[in-house]
Structure formats: C-alpha cells, structure tokens
C-alpha cells in the first residue's frame, strides 16, 4: 500500500511541476515525472513479493510468478513517453530561438 501511495505522491509532484512552474524546461521535467509515476504504478500492479520470473522450464512447477503483461505494456509506454519528450524538447529549443526566453508567462502571442 505504501508503494502505491508513493506513486501517487510522485504523480502529484509531477503535476505540480507542470501546473506551477514557469520555466518550460521544468514543465517538461514535470511531464517526465508524471510518466515515471504512472509506469511505476502499472509495474507495481503486476508485482508480487517473493515472486519469480515467469519463465517456463522443464520439470518445474511455477507457483507464484510475477505478472509479465504489465512489464511489456510499460515498455511500450516508456517508448511513447520518450517520443513525447523528444518532440517537446525540440519544440522548446525552437521556442527559445523565436522568443529568446524559457519563461512561459512571456510566451503569449496567442490570445482570445
């Protein structure tokens, strides 16, 4: 249970970073933290204490194994997160070239 709560706290830290920080780079870091928190949560769902890897071997009974599916899904999700982060960072570089600042409150040409 504690582990799940820690995940929630990590998620909230990330959300705080996205919502409250003014620097674009810090917002991106916050987004990264959110992604880590949710990946961690998903992996934890399939974990069990003193479990073993779900590898089939001959003459062996597998009694308590870790659920492998969340691990596979989280791998996919990590790759997606990498794609988003790379795209957003390249956008941040271009924004710095155009506006000359990383401060989100000064980047406001769009209104209405």
């Amino acid at each position: 249970m504690t582990l799940y709560l820690l995940c929630l706290i990590l998620f909230c830290i990330g959300l705080y970073g996205v919502l409250r920080k003014r620097n674009i780079v810090k917002i991106i870091i916050g987004l990264g933290i959110i992604e880590y928190a949710m990946n961690l949560f998903f992996v934890l769902l399939g974990y069990r204490y003193h479990g073993r890897a779900p590898i089939y071997a001959q003459n062996q009974q597998i009694l308590d194994m870790v659920d492998p599916l969340p691990q596979a899904l989280v791998l996919t999700s990590i790759v997606i997160g990498l794609g988003v982060t790379a795209l957003v960072i390249s956008m941040a570089i271009r924004i710095y070239e155009k506006y000359g600042t990383f401060d989100i409150t000064k980047i406001k040409r769009l209104k209405g």
Partner: protein, 503 residues
C-alpha cells in the same frame, strides 16, 4: 477471401504509406508523391465503403480479425461493427479530400514529404483506434495520432505555431497519462485488456468504487482530447495555428475519434452507461455548446472563430449521445458525421482564402465573392449547414437532438441547443458579411480563385453537405442505425464479439 481480412488494411495502408514516402521522398518527383498519397487515401476510402457492405453481408453484425490467430481474450483482436464503420467512413472521406486539397495547398510550405509522412501516421492512429478491440492497443493508437498531431500543429515553425503546439503537447500528454492510469486500474481489477472480455468481467464481478473512479479519469482524459468546455483551452490555439488542411483534419475528425469515439466506446460498451455518467455527459455537452459559441462571437480571426465553433458543435454531439435514448444517440452520431463534413469544409475555405489573399483577419477581407466564386458558394453552404438551416444536413441532426431532449423531458437542454444554434447563425452571418459580401478592396483586384485541386475538395464536401440529409431516408438509414444499435446494446457488445470469434 474472408471479409474480415480487410480490417487490418485500415492500419497497414497508412502505416506503409507513411514510411514509404519518408524513404523515397528525397529521390522522386513531387508529382509521384502527390499521386501516391491520393491513391492510398482513395484506397482507404474504397475499403471503408466496402466494409459497409461486408458488415451487411455477415450474419453476426460484428466482424472480428484475430491478429496472428490468437483468440481473444489472450490475443489482440480488431473489431469492425456498426459504430466503427461509421467512424471509418467519416475519417477516410475527410482524409481523402484533405489529401487532394493538400496537393495544391502545400505549395506554400517547403517540406512536402515530412508533411505527408506525419499526415499518414495521424491517419494510421485514428483508423487503428477505431477498429481495435483491445484497450491498451487503443492507448497506443491514441498516442500515435496525438504525437503526430502535435508535430503537425507546429509544422510552420513560426513563433505562434510553436507556442500553440507546446501548449497542446503538454495538455495532451497529461490527458494521456490520465487515460493510462485508468487503463492500469481496469487491468488491475479485471486482469484482461480485451474490451469485450473486460465488459464481461465487470458485469460479473461485484465492484463498488472502481467504475465511477475510472470513469472520472477517462472523462478527464478523453474530455481533454475532445475539448469539452472546462478542458478546451488548447483547442482554439492549436486548431487555428496548424496548416489549413491539418486544421480540417484536427477539427473534423481527430477530436471526434480520439475524444468522443473512445469515450463512448468505453462508457457504453465496457462500463454500461449509468444515469450519473449520462447526466455528466449532458451537462458538459450543454456547457460547451453555450460557452464556446459565446466566445466565438467576438473573434475576428477566421480560423479561431471556426475553432471555437468546433467546441460548440462537439457539445451537441455529446449532448445527443448523453441522452442515451435511441433518438438522441442517432442524432448525436449523425451530427458527428455532419460536423466533420461541414467543419472541414469551412477550414478548407479559410485555407483557400489564406492561399489567395494572404490573411485570416475578417476585417481585412471584403467582397471576395466576385473574385472567388467557388469558395464563396461552398462557404455559404457550409455556414448554412453549421447554423442548421433546413435543406442542409446540419438541420436534420440538430432537429433530432432537440426532439430527443424534448422527448426525454429536458426542456432546458433543448432551449440551450436552440439558443446555441441561433448564436452560431449570427456568427456565420458575420463571416459572410465581412469576407464575401460588400465592396472589393482595391488591393485585392488581382486575387485569383484557388487552384483546381482545392476547388475539387471543397465542391465534393459541399455536395455531401447538401445531400447529407438523405442519410435519414430508409434506404441509407441502416448506416446510422447500426452504429446507434452498437451503443444501445451496451455490454451486449461482449457477447457479439465472442460469438463472432467462435464462428
């Protein structure tokens, strides 16, 4: 050939086209790229039209393709039912016409190859999301479509476009993470990812808090993707900054597939809709309808005005679907189809004006009717459609939604829908007056009509607008009613899918 073998083609064709174009783009002529893109979108349109008859011919009204022969619930399956067919036809119709339009429109931009690569990736994500029967697969396709749309919004790499795209990317990613957490909770509870199996487990296993909690997560996530009102802040920026052909795709189909389709598929077919969820959907729909149209009234940037109207029209769709009665769902789905037609037409018109005149400001343009007759005529048709004037398609779907509200006794929502429709008419009268009527400004004496490919797309969409109302005739009605039946069946979806697998 088994008819269900056409289902994976909806993912394969755009995915192949995207990578093929990015490979050969550097070495071949422009005309070849154009021809290839138009050909593959036309093939997609053909297959989605074919899927209507394939579905009608099959006995079970659901077609299931099991990837690699692994039967669900263990393997991933692709499901084609009435709702998917409706969405596929909508997406691929708009995609084909937008692709033809882009052939001329992209002359303004430098990198045609990258544009089409991203365009096809977005199309792949949307088609895949519509046909998938697996919840995690749905998330992956959703992310493919979202990431390519972030990149497409920033395609011009001007300051405003980057700003809009950054906003969109951050909010979209937060929304995706909410959706991901919702999927994680559902997996933890049901130990399955197949949507049909999940529906079966949820109806059998007793649960107290899970479905309401996950519904809220999905409502936030998909609501943000669909830009319902409390979550709408990114849409006017993103949709008005993108290239016009992409705005047409984003407003026309992306917010509907990523937001509304995914949301109603999960709410109706997996959770089995409850009264509380229905009320939430109706309230959000009515709120977006009114707030967005009021915000739209004061806009002078043509594309921004259209973007606000997208939010408002999506409100109609959600209101109709949230009613949950056969008539309301029919009206909502019909309005979804109609809106994607006339809103993409309006965005294509704004792109044509931008192409010929070079401005998006309504105060700058005047009297363009004389110089651009095709754009003016199609824009008039689309404006009348979106405002709900009788012979055009928008009228019928709005009428159905209003009737459904009255039938269920929600007079307030019905009045809100009428009021929003009148305000829509007012704001499109403004567009007509400032852009097309009045005296021609002297500096526009040299303005020419848009190129032929752009005119072709606009005329085709205008024809669909005029004849769209005919879809309610008994001959064509199964197209809409079979989609509505899928939603009305609720958790019966699971039984249909399993029966189709065993066959």
């Amino acid at each position: 050939m088994l008819t269900q073998n056409i289902i994976p083609l909806f993912v394969i064709i755009p995915l192949f086209s995207a990578f093929f174009i990015s490979f050969i783009g550097r070495f071949v002529k422009k005309t070849f790229i154009n021809a290839f893109c138009c050909f593959s979108t036309a093939a997609l349109l053909f297959f989605s039209a074919f899927s209507i008859s394939a579905l009608k011919a099959s006995a079970t009204s659901v077609l299931v393709y099991t990837i690699g022969g692994w039967k669900p619930p263990y393997g991933i399956c692709l499901v084609l039912d009435g709702l998917s067919v409706l969405m596929l036809v909508t997406v691929n119709l708009v995609a084909f016409l937008v692709c033809v339009y882009s052939v001329s429109y992209m002359e303004k931009y430098t990198d045609r190859t990258k544009f089409f690569t991203l365009f096809f990736l977005m199309l792949c994500g949307m088609n895949g999301l519509v046909v998938t029967g697996d919840l995690f697969n749905l998330f992956v396709f959703l992310e493919i479509a979202s990431i390519s749309s972030y990149a497409l919004v920033a395609f011009g790499t001007e300051a405003e476009e980057l700003e809009a795209s950054f906003k969109y990317a951050i909010m979209g990613s937060v929304a995706s993470s909410f959706i991901f957490i919702g999927i994680a909770f559902l997996y933890g509870f049901t130990s399955t990812l197949n949507m049909a199996d999940m529906a079966r487990v949820i109806s059998e296993k007793p649960q107290m808090w899970l479905v309401p909690f996950v519904s809220v997560l999905f409502l936030m996530g998909f609501g943000l993707k669909a830009a319902l009102v409390p979550f709408h802040a990114w849409l006017p920026d993103a949709h008005s900054s993108a290239p016009a052909s992409i705005s047409a795709m984003l407003s026309g189909v992306l917010i509907k597939t990523l937001g509304i389709y995914a949301m109603i598929r999960i709410f109706f077919n997996i959770f089995g809709i409850t009264q509380a969820l229905q009320s939430a959907l109706m309230f959000l729909g009515a709120l977006s309808m009114l707030v967005a149209v009021i915000l739209a009234l004061s806009q002078w940037d043509l594309k921004r005005l259209l973007a606000y109207h997208s939010i408002s029209q999506v409100g109609y769709v959600v209101l109709g679907l949230g009613l949950g009665t056969p008539l309301g769902i029919l009206g909502g789905l019909f309005h979804l189809f109609n809106h994607s037609v006339f809103k993409s037409l309006l965005f294509l018109n704004s792109g044509a004006i931008d192409y010929a005149v070079g401005t998006r400001d309504l105060k700058e343009m005047s009297g363009l009717r004389k110089k651009m007759p095709v754009t003016a005529a199609t824009n008039f048709i689309a404006s009348m459609s979106i405002a709900g004037i009788p012979p055009f398609n928008g009228f019928f779907s709005k009428l159905l939604i209003i009737f459904a509200c009255i039938e269920k006794g929600y007079i307030g929502y019905a009045l809100a829908a009428v009021a929003a429709s009148i305000l829509t008419l007012a704001s499109f009268m403004k567009v007509q007056k400032f852009a097309f009527l009045g005296e021609l400004k002297e500096k526009y004496a040299e303005v020419k009509e848009a190129p032929l490919a752009m005119q072709f797309s606009m005329v085709c969409l205008a024809l669909v607008c005029i004849f769209g109302g005919l879809l309610l005739l008994p001959i064509f009605k199964p197209f809409l009613t079979s989609a509505a039946d899928v939603l009305l069946a609720g958790r019966g979806y699971a039984g249909g899918v399993f029966k189709a697998v065993l066959r």
